[in-house]
């Protein structure tokens, strides 16, 4: 029987309990959102001891299922004021699976000290580690691994989380033990830091993979799933060869690559920061263009990026990070972007939110667009904790407020990612209506409206975008709850065998009879729980909107504005049309 760990930081207690009936069928986001909505008072201050922080693995964690080691962190977000789930790869999800822990629920806050939760085959305990206070993440991981085992997986916060910066991430280590995979969005790291919890260390020595209910069926479906991932051209060829940054050119060509704080859809320097160029640079310097963030993933979208001197800079320089700190800031130098990314890894801060905050500072004239050294200086101010640096570390909205900028690309206080909603309107619907604030992963309309996966829809059309986003948001919530990497959606959207084998693994692992028809309802239910929390926390229809400038400033080159009617946005959120009686 899998377990749930209940940690009270105020009492410094850890209890191991059997997974209660109501949580047994939930992993990842389904697990975190259910627990947060049941236990966190929606109106509370996210940094108060009442807010719970929930860490959960997926339903296939610890097994050989490819990409199934996704880790979710959920809480009330200090950035959006609503419920938050942010997930990452890395090795911790699988480690939790091997240790038989589906979820960790952290409540309360330590009155003093810096604490580490250590979980191994014998149980779990809190240890005081004041030596790690405000330690940068590479050094913290090295110290933790020397104390608790050289192969331990670590979930941690950096100095940004300890200082409660609202863009702080929860970091997960990769197979080389590098702190490079982030549950980046929404400031979950600041909540973890506010509790005095620096890290969770997972020592899997002496454990085994969980035994599936039906071993033969599990092995068969696991094999078929890998075959489906390998057979699809996106997960079998493009992502392994170029990583996610293969998107830079296509999104730029489509006129949807947000440039200089969302003022154009095309960036003249794209070729220099594209996936194609990056691959050449990586190979030339002896890095690795293909890398896994977790063992067993056959997609291998990650990479190892070395600096000009051959020193390691980043593992997994991703499309989003490259855009936020590249085109969004008018910067076309991959080395500058990689150095920024390294700083963010050390600090434990979201590369999207922070890049967009720096873009806002450029828009305000603090430094000019394109000033790479200036961007590095601003990132240094975040680390140093200057007043401007603290505003930047609190995200794009806080930076805009401090600098007197009204034109700030955020929804629910969270920065927009790398697709302009005026040129890919389905993404605009997702940004506006997601329970999470502006989040590309919440309903990835790009797949259908640019990449021809799961059908096709003109990204500039007005019709059909709301329906597409709504469908994708539910499907995503379901996949996030199984706990697999979202990139499996490319084959899942196109190839029935991919979904069949994925569900086959879940059923064989747990002895269930889940079918594809159950997934939309499962996703809808999670979204309902999240919306109810957000409404109780005080978010309204006015929060399910894009900033006004997207409705009034046409975007080059297509000269479109975001023109999806508000009533369609409300419908996606399940709000009754205006004038209608609430049932």
């Amino acid at each position: 029987m899998e377990k749930i760990l209940k940690v009270d930081m105020g009492e410094r207690s850890v209890r191991v309990e059997e997974l209660p009936e109501g949580l047994r069928r939930l992993g990842g986001r389904g697990f975190t959102s259910s627990v947060v909505s049941a236990e966190t008072p929606p109106g509370c201050d996210p940094f108060s001891s009442e807010n719970v922080l929930v860490i959960a693995c997926g339903l296939l964690a610890g097994t050989a299922a490819s990409t199934a080691g996704r880790l979710s962190v959920g809480t009330k977000s200090p950035l959006t004021g609503g419920i938050k789930e942010s997930n990452a790869g890395g090795t911790a999800g699988h480690a939790m699976g091997r240790l038989g822990v589906r979820g960790i629920v952290v409540r309360g806050a330590a009155r003093e000290g810096t604490w580490v939760l250590v979980i191994d085959r014998d149980g779990a305990r809190l240890e005081r580690r004041d030596d790690l206070r405000l330690a940068e993440s590479y050094a913290a991981v090295a110290a933790l691994r020397s104390s608790y085992g050289g192969d331990a997986s670590v979930i941690l916060v950096g100095p940004a989380g300890e200082r409660r910066l609202k863009a702080a991430s929860v970091i997960v280590t990769d197979p080389e033990g590098r702190p490079t995979r982030h549950c980046g969005r929404g400031g979950t790291g600041a909540v973890m830091g506010s509790k005095g919890l620096k890290a969770v260390v997972l020592d899997t020595r002496g454990t085994r993979p969980p035994a599936p209910a039906d071993r033969g069926a599990f092995a068969m479906h696991a094999k078929r799933f890998v075959e489906a991932l390998r057979a699809h051209p996106v997960t079998g060829e493009a992502l392994p060869a170029y990583g996610t940054n293969v998107l830079a050119n296509i999104i730029n060509e489509a006129g949807a690559y947000p440039t200089r704080c969302f003022s154009s859809g095309r960036f003249e320097g794209t070729e220099k920061v594209s996936g194609e160029t990056m691959r050449d640079v990586i190979i030339e310097r002896g890095g690795s263009p293909t890398h896994v963030c977790q063992p067993g993933c056959v997609i291998r979208c990650s990479n190892v990026y070395l600096g000009p001197d051959g020193g390691h800079l980043a593992s997994g320089l991703e499309y989003e990070s490259i855009w936020a700190n590249g085109a969004n800031c008018g910067i076309d130098d991959l080395d500058v972007i990689a150095r920024l990314d390294r700083l963010y890894d050390e600090l434990g801060i979201d590369s999207i939110e922070t890049g967009v905050a720096i873009g806002v500072a450029m828009q305000a004239g603090v430094i000019p667009f394109g000033d790479g050294e200036g961007a590095l200086r601003l990132a240094g101010e975040i680390a140093a904790g200057t007043p401007l640096g603290t505003a930047l570390g609190n995200g794009a909205a806080a930076a805009g407020a401090r600098l007197g900028c009204a034109r700030v690309p955020v929804v629910k206080g969270q920065a927009l990612p790398a697709y302009d909603p005026r040129a890919i309107k389905g993404m605009g619907v997702t940004y506006a209506t997601s329970t999470m604030g502006a989040d590309h992963t919440a309903g990835y309309a790009v797949a259908t409206s640019i990449l021809n996966c799961g059908g096709s829809l003109d990204p500039l059309a007005t019709e059909g975008q709301a329906a597409l986003s709504k469908r994708l948001q539910a499907a995503t919530a379901a996949l996030d709850s199984i706990g697999v990497c979202l990139f499996v959606a490319f084959p899942v959207l196109d190839d029935p065998a991919a979904l069949e084998s994925l569900l086959g693994m879940v059923n064989a692992r747990h002895g269930w009879g889940m079918t594809a028809a159950d997934l939309p309802a499962m996703g809808e239910e999670i979204l309902r729980i999240e919306r109810r929390f957000n409404a109780a926390a005080g978010l309204t229809a006015a929060d399910d909107r894009l900033p006004a400038f997207f409705l009034t400033e046409p975007l080059e080159p297509h000269r479109h504005v975001f023109d999806i009617p508000e009533r369609e946005l409300d419908e996606v959120c399940g709000r009754p049309p205006e004038g209608a009686e609430r049932p």
Binding site: A238, H440, A447, P557, H558
Partner: protein
């Protein structure tokens, strides 16, 4: 007419000597398919086609000065 053909990712291997774009001349009434053939790219390779940044098909008619972007199946997030 003259059009620019810009293949991306793995499709670039069809261009000579590390080129990233090709300017080609075509007769009146030419389509994307004609441009792809003239560029020496196997017709079935591009999975996503854009003309001037708008999604198009191989049968789309071209006009002077058009930019044709060609992609294999790609994805990310």
């Amino acid at each position: 007419m003259t059009v620019d053909v810009r293949p991306f990712a793995t499709l670039r291997r069809h261009l000579p000597g590390g080129e990233t774009a090709l300017r080609i001349r075509l007769g009146d009434g030419a389509t994307v398919r004609d441009a792809v053939r003239r560029a020496g790219i196997p017709e079935e390779s591009p999975r996503i086609v854009m003309v001037n940044g708008r999604l198009a098909t191989l049968d789309a008619a071209l006009a002077d000065g058009d930019a044709v972007s060609l992609f294999p199946a790609v994805g990310g997030g």
